[in-house]
């Protein structure tokens, strides 16, 4: 059974596994405000999408990074604050990238192991560059004096 991995507490970075809900995703040509929207990785983001009840981005392959850029644009350029879900080819080893690009839920196919996936969400304590979850790069946050 596919499951949903979802952030339950943003500040604590807590995640949990839940049974998959099935929002009635609408593609961009049929979507109307207040309903859940599903985007393909090659679509253009638009400002009205901030009024979606949730947005899903469908990854055609786990090595396809376009969905990462799309997520960054929705979050940081259009300030979408609702649920942003990765669907399609979601691979546990890409989760940590996805999280840093602003995804806060993942639909995990039944060929994946949810426990392994949970363990892959944050393999690193910090990163050099800015991201959606940490808009300041390390050089603005961390004292990295010559011998720090």
């Amino acid at each position: 059974m596919p499951v949903l991995i979802k952030q339950t507490n943003q500040t604590q970075g807590e995640w949990s596994v839940a049974p998959l809900d099935q929002p009635k995703w609408q593609s961009s040509d049929t979507w109307s405000k207040g309903t859940p929207l599903i985007l393909q990785v090659d679509e253009e983001p638009a400002s009205e999408y901030v009024e979606a009840s949730a947005i899903a981005i469908e990854f055609p392959a786990f090595i396809d990074g376009r969905g990462l850029s799309l997520a960054v644009l929705l979050r940081s350029r259009f300030d979408f604050t609702g649920e942003l879900r990765a669907v399609g080819a979601v691979h546990e080893d890409i989760l940590h990238y996805m999280v840093r690009c602003g995804f806060d839920s993942f639909e995990l196919g039944d060929d994946r192991d949810a426990d392994i996936a949970l363990a892959q969400i944050a393999p690193y304590s910090d990163h050099y560059q800015a991201s959606v979850v940490n808009p300041e790069p390390a050089f603005r946050r961390v004292n990295r004096g010559h011998n720090a």
Partner: protein, 555 residues
Amino acid sequence: MYQYDKFDHTFVAERVAHYRAQTLRYLDGKLSEDEFLQLRLRNGLYVQRLAPMLRVAVPYGTLSSDQLRMLAAIARKYDRGYGHLSTRQNMQYNWPELAEVPDILEDLASVEMHAIQTSGNCIRNVTTDEFSGAALDESVDVRPYCEILRQWSTSHPEFDWLPRKFKIAVTGATEDRAAITVHDIGIRAHRDDQDQIVFDIFVGGGLGRTPVVGVLMISGLPVEHLLTYVEAIMRVYNRFGRRDNKYRARIKILVRALTADGFRDRIDEEWMHLKSGPSTLTQDEVDRMRLHFTPPKFDTLPDFTDALAQQRLAEPEFSRWVKHNVTPHKAPGYAVVTLSTKVTGIPPGDVSDEQMDCVADWAEAWSFSELRISHEQNFVIPHVAQNKLLELWGAARAAGMGASNKGLLTDIICCPGGDYCSLANAKSIPVAESIQRRFDDYDYQHDLHELDINISGCMNACGHHHVGHIGILGVDKKGAEFYQISLGGHSGHSGIGATLGQIVGPSFARRDVNDVINKIFDVYLANRTQEEHFLNCFKRIGLEPFKESIYASSD
């Protein structure tokens, strides 16, 4: 040199642990071959014809003596006692065991090294001028900016899954030893009228199957905007680069499709939102990075010109070596030394563990423990006092690294080719060796002046054959190894972009390659004006005379 702080140590240690866990999952059957492939590539592990190959990052080609000793120790412990200097200034091992790679990475981390993003469709190791920080013709030591780019691109959340591999090269000297215009992004640092450091940014250059010279996207970009501008380029590429055909996936194809102006419009549109945002470099950060690269404490040395001239008179071999392998240094009394790995009978770029240990010792004794790897696959000892040159030469000669052929025809750039690489159409190492044997005579080589021969075993052009004065490309003709020859390429110099070589005509069997090269030399020698180098002669007389000579007598 850059030194890791706690932040770097933690990151690299976590990366090793992460990769170790991924390797175990793979060995446990929890990751498929294809899934693990993508993860191991991003940690430097590539599977070749005979065994896995591990590519260790040597950021911008700079190494310390301790780091090189570790590379020697790894060659001994996990490999067959040698390593290979690549054309991208990295160190490659040809025989590591997949299961042992996490241990190797841990050893590397102990000397502040890694293999992160040395393969795969991500931002690769940034390359630069191997003489950075030493060259007389340098106006900006670009290593601080290379390090800034290295950190920014390491495990970038958005840009680790690009349509194709992505290579950035940076130079800050008059002569472009980093070949920036044949990289996905090429950066030229220089000083503006107010003596401020600024960047000219080129995009869309590259070799491979569709060789293209990069186009200028912006000139005079202030330092603070470096990362946001590069981020804008990367986002446009990540979103719009083709993913349906791997031969059409490099950024050069996108630039061509959108046209240079169209591409620039896209970047500008994107950059508008990023410019002056949080990723804008702070003065503190730039200063911190520059501090890591403050020049070593050079001694005030007495003028050694006369004494060196005497030494050269007394020892003609040494004199040749000084002529070819020693380059002027910005500090008075110092010199930059290139130690050639191009010895007939040894694949270009291959170095033994003992040689690595020797080079490390020499750098420690005579160059503030600092050394470099050049894209010509040689070692560089950047800061040698001129009064130590003779001693260094003696030691290098005893260790088989004293060849006086830098820039000469036997200083061949050559990819691993069919002996190692599973993508190859043809072998390249034996071709290099047979050319070296045939034209071994120093006086003949010397008479030919500077001459770059570059050999690639396939279209991927790891041997940069398009920018060789003579380029040799392995092609497959009905299952047999053939070689296509091109003339007149160069990788750019003195603010002039690269020129791609012109193909002479139908390809040749391996046994004929040497004769063809010989004819090329004959045409050059017969046509050159006094002191005219091959490249200038070629520019003047064009391809035709070469073609005529090569194909007229081939029947």
